[in-house]
């Protein structure tokens, strides 16, 4: 298979009781790029993510990752192949400390995650790496804090650190800047740029400034189908896209 694309979908379709949420999507994500998936509310972006990570089973169509058909994988298997997603709603472990959150991401590699007889002190060997990751997202000083006590923006940053703990080849970010204040958005954009240096990122994002700033390729989704695809300059001038966005604004 071609090495150029890390992820490819063919005819990806998802129906919910007759309602087609994702319709015949052929997506190609270039290795090493930042690829944005945009579209009005309800366009099917999150559903595409759920299909790619196998949280949902496609009605028809198939998914290829590094040339391997992963359509029949279980979600945890997909993750172990190197595709790690974040969620549209902040996904942290609220009643674990910030450090422990990142360690959950790191500890699988140790191969002791079923060892119920072992002391959790055995996880302390991961603290160094965990602190590095927290450092990278400006959270080192919160390491011992209960995660539930973090402000929202910080939680999203922690989520990214936990995702990075798995050193994913492909990161799927579902609206990483949603609900954030201006400063936090800047921080997260900088972070995504940094981490995308040696991996591929597929992201859903509503903030078009962020999209323009970060992405190499943009796919526009509307009513579950691909409306347009290309670099920002091109897509942003596409009359259909403009209409879709304006139309949505009038809804």
């Amino acid at each position: 298979m071609s090495n150029e694309y890390i992820l490819e979908t063919r005819g990806l379709t998802k129906e919910f009781k007759g309602f087609v949420a994702v319709s015949d999507v052929n997506l190609k994500v270039r290795r090493g790029s930042i690829h944005a998936l945009i579209g009005p509310n309800g366009a099917g972006k999150t559903t595409v993510f759920n299909l790619l990570t196998k949280f949902l089973q496609p009605t028809t169509g198939s998914i290829f990752y590094n040339g391997t058909d992963i359509t029949e994988d279980r979600p945890a298997q997909v993750a172990r192949r190197g595709i790690i997603r974040s969620f549209q709603i902040s996904a942290v472990f609220p009643h674990l400390t910030v450090l422990e959150n990142v360690r959950i991401g790191l500890q699988r590699k140790l191969g002791t995650s079923f060892h119920f007889w072992k002391s959790q002190k055995s996880l302390e060997q991961l603290n160094g790496r965990a602190m590095e990751l927290l450092e990278a997202v400006d959270l080192a000083s919160f390491a011992g804090t209960m995660t539930v006590e973090l402000p929202y923006g910080r939680k999203r940053a922690l989520e990214i650190a936990t995702t990075l703990a798995l050193d994913p080849e492909l990161m799927l970010l579902d609206e990483p800047t949603q609900g954030m204040g201006h400063e936090d958005v800047g921080r997260v954009v900088g972070l995504i740029k940094k981490v995308a240096a040696d991996r591929t990122v597929l992201m859903v994002e509503h903030n078009l400034n962020v999209v323009a700033d970060l992405s190499h390729v943009i796919t526009v989704l509307q009513h579950g189908s691909v409306l347009a695809e290309g670099p920002y300059e091109e897509v942003s001038k596409n009359p259909q896209v403009l209409e879709a966005y304006v139309g949505a604004a009038h809804d």
Binding site: F55, P75, A79, I89, L96, K118, Q120, P151
Partner: protein
């Protein structure tokens, strides 16, 4: 950490001196058996986020198997206890495999249904003695040297069994495996997305919980020399939920406290108010759920935290309201 160590020491001292304080030993032994049962249950409810409503199945099954092994097969107590415990573990694997892929109320319903099925099996089978139960189960000599007919010996054996089970649970909670369990409790989709096959983790937690619930039931049979339908009835499943909630789910010591409070109430009230005791239990349940969710130990811990630690920033609290769990 040091607070937990202190708790351990106090617990051991309490357990060792209690029989010398003029407290009825059978009451204490009953307390330790239920404390172990509640701790085992708490591993699921408090640390994995799974509400089983059929845990009496494991408590009761072990109780019957141990009773039969001691009474009919004449096995020594340590083997009898082991037989009941292992049986509960195997049963836990079977029930767990059937229930674990369902979440929330469906999980509770399936565990309840399976436990009820087993209850009727026990009712029909000859060896259980039906409504009468298995009475007069002999205690015998443990390891050939400890005479369990002596109440002091029996007490310390029961207490040692409790400590063993309690430590097993403590270790499980504070292990790499326990960390994953907590992550599942906190946010299951996120655990999956990090590559954990959550069903396997839940199943192992379920089996450990069932096994130790079995150990509690088996030990209870030796103490009371009786295995009966009461042990397998859904009331028993409800009682262990109550003990855990009352003491504080998701805390290490909470279920122990909850178990002793409930056993004490039952002992004190049974001859005074008769079956009103059920109403009182129900009332306590409601109070727990409405007024203090964290249970006795949980509320105390929160109180100490507020007294001795800096208050949590208001902004952080407010921000927290915005994001609900995925």
């Amino acid at each position: 950490m040091s607070r937990t160590a202190l708790g351990f020491i106090l617990l051991i001292i309490a357990g060792v001196v209690a029989p010398w304080l003029n407290i009825y030993p059978t009451f204490l032994m009953k307390g330790w058996c239920f404390a172990l049962f509640a701790c085992a249950f708490n591993l699921l409810l408090g640390y994995t986020g799974l509400l089983s409503f059929g845990h009496a199945a494991f408590f009761g099954a072990a109780s019957y198997i141990t009773g039969h092994a001691l009474k009919v097969w004449g096995l020594p107590p340590e083997i009898g206890l082991l037989a009941g415990t292992v049986f509960a573990g195997v049963l836990g694997y079977l029930f767990g495999s059937l229930a674990i892929r369902r979440a929330g109320i469906y999980f509770a319903m399936i565990t309840l249904a399976l436990a009820q099925m087993l209850y009727f099996v026990w009712l029909q089978m000859k060896f259980t003695g039906g409504e009468d139960g298995l009475q007069g189960v002999p205690r015998g000599m443990m390891f050939g040297v400890i005479d369990l007919t002596n109440n002091v010996n029996l007490y310390y054996v029961v207490f040692a069994i409790f400590l063993f089970g309690f430590f097993m649970i403590y270790r499980t909670i504070h292990s790499p495996f326990g960390q994953v369990l907590k992550s599942i409790r906190e946010n299951e989709p996120r655990s999956i997305s990090l590559g954990y096959d959550v069903a396997k983790y839940k199943l192992l937690a379920f089996v450990i919980s069932a096994t130790l619930s079995g150990l509690a039931g088996a030990t209870k049979t030796v103490v009371f020399q009786l295995a009966s339908l009461t042990d397998a009835h859904w009331h028993m499943s409800g009682e262990v939920v109550l003990m855990t909630l009352l003491g504080g789910m998701g805390t290490v010591f909470g279920p122990v406290v909850g178990a002793f409070v409930i056993v004490t109430l039952q002992n004190e009230l049974a001859d005074k108010v008769g079956s009103w005791v059920q109403v009182i239990m129900g009332f306590i349940f409601v109070i727990c759920v409405l007024a203090f969710r964290r249970g006795i130990v949980g509320e105390l811990m929160a109180l100490f935290r507020n007294l001795y630690q800096r208050p949590v920033g208001l902004s952080a609290r407010q921000a927290d309201v915005k994001d609900t769990k995925a």
